[in-house]
């Protein structure tokens, strides 16, 4: 089994999109490209917006990912946990598929005896340690997020501490939306670590509209441009995981 590359979009937002159509529909497109969309809703203590809550969940479901709404204080830990859990879920899907190929019939996780599950889980854990990981981090920079960006930055550094402790490689790119001229601005191009991020959010402009859908679209394009570039530089195709768990 090739160790492959895992692709995720991590969307950090605090509210409803108001420009550019239904973000869940675009997330569904991402899923077709084998890119999982995870959403973290960043709330301030004591505020709960039903509409925002609903949209966050819908995007993640459509994107085959995981969503979690958190308050500022738990943000760092949640970002790490959601990313990790989504990763395990995807890998489990891959391993499941391999399994049913070997066993020659539709054998799903829940149909396995607890003993067999244990063995599969060991393979999943092992893959999670070695798989290469690419993530587009998509940060909502609409006005209401302004004072949360410092915490978001800390959470991202924390995420990179966790991911960089694995054996596999990691690549991140950071986008904010809305951008100055386009839907998104690339704050940091593809890089192998987020530790050099401090102060990056200081420069961004804060916009009034929240084009979440187009932003996810831009994130998908980031993967495509990365793929083209890596094909030029290495002259070979990347491994891809064929199936996502969901």
């Amino acid at each position: 089994m090739s160790k492959g590359t895992l692709k995720q979009i991590l969307l950090l937002t605090d509210g409803c999109s108001n420009d550019g159509g239904d973000p869940a529909a675009i997330a569904a497109l991402a899923r077709e490209e084998n890119i999982m969309v995870n959403v973290i809703g960043v709330l301030e203590e004591g505020s709960l917006n039903e509409e925002a809550y609903d949209e966050i969940e819908k995007i993640a479901t459509a994107g085959g990912g995981i969503s979690q709404v958190v308050y500022m204080k738990q943000l760092a830990k949640t970002v790490q946990m959601v990313t990790r859990q989504a990763m395990t879920q995807t890998l489990q899907g891959v391993v499941n598929k391999e399994l049913s190929q070997i066993l020659g019939r539709e054998q799903e996780w829940d149909d396995l005896s607890p003993e067999k599950r244990g063995e599969v889980m060991e393979v999943v854990d092992d893959l999670g340690e070695r798989v290469d990981f690419e993530v587009v981090i998509l940060v909502d920079a609409s006005a209401s997020m302004r004072n949360k960006l410092r915490t978001v930055q800390e959470a991202l550094v924390d995420l990179s501490i966790s991911m960089d402790s694995r054996g596999g490689s990691n690549y991140y790119t950071l986008l904010t939306f809305p951008g100055k001229r386009n839907d998104t601005d690339i704050i940091k191009g593809w890089t192998s670590g987020i530790t050099g991020l401090s102060g990056l959010f200081d420069k961004i402009s804060v916009g009034g509209i929240t084009p979440t859908g187009p932003a996810i679209q831009a994130a998908i394009q980031q993967f495509q441009s990365r793929k083209r570039r890596s094909m030029i530089s290495y002259g070979e195709d990347e491994y891809e995981l064929e199936e996502r768990g969901s």
Binding site: Q68, D110, S113, R117, V124, E129, D158, D164, S165, S246
Partner: protein
Amino acid sequence: MEKTNMNSRNEAPNFPRGTKLLGKWNRNVYHILKPLGRGATGVVYLADSKHGKVALKIGHNSMSITSEVNVLKHFGKVQGQILGPSFIDTDDCIVQGQKHPFYVMEYLQGVPVFDHLKEHGNEWAPVFMVQLLGDLSRLHRAGWVFGDLKPENLLITGPPYRVRWLDVGGTTIKGRAIKEYTEFYDRGYWGMGDRKADEQYDLFAAGMIFIHLIEKKRFEKGNDGKQTLMTCLERNEQLRPYRHWLKKMVQGSFQDAEAARTDLMKFIAKREDRHRKVDQSARPKRRKKMRRKAQKQPALVGIVDLVLVIAFLLITSVLYLVGQMI
């Protein structure tokens, strides 16, 4: 496989006393007695079974339950002493049409560390540290790192009092990335290292447990995590004597748990010795008063007495030291 949404998944089921659980695969029956605790991955119940009283952990997410079972089984393979609760059974059960994965382990009876210290005093904190470091050393030699080490995961059983591990869910193979952690005890959170599972990761957490046990509260890292920690070590009267040892713990200076244990043992012994010496210097004063009352006695008897007392004290402290080393 599961549709995952963390918001709905976090709710573990609530079972009233008397609920009967029938394992789908192994056909074992369990009767729920009462909830023991609630963790990130599920609820632990006290239950009745053919093995007697057991602890039964039931969760929503089959993956994390499976992960924990894997770890528990590996714990059984760590030779010599039993480190965590021993593993008994794992299965699925269906209650009110919903499937729940669960596993069953030995029920450890004891009290939380903080309760023990409240009742028996803080001098137990270093003792439990020594015990904990011994267990960590055995676990590390077997190729594992505990990961999510914190007071909530420790239980004091006995008497004789012994620290035991309650929840071994975060245990990770050495060299991999830590799966589960709690910020206060996490090296990464304090900006003092990565989350790679190595001996020093556990030692950092153990050091933080000691600080928490004495300081009685957790605190935030502030702008500079390392600076905040160092300030705390100097500020707290009870921590200050241990500061050199604690600094080595949190900075990863010990090669392994055994080195950390030996160092702590040496320090405790030296400290006890110093207490003795303080006692010694206090005693002659009392003796002087006594001598004034019995002035007619020759001075020589007093000197012989003094020599005897000093010899007695020396022998006692030597015996104590030997006792500690065994």
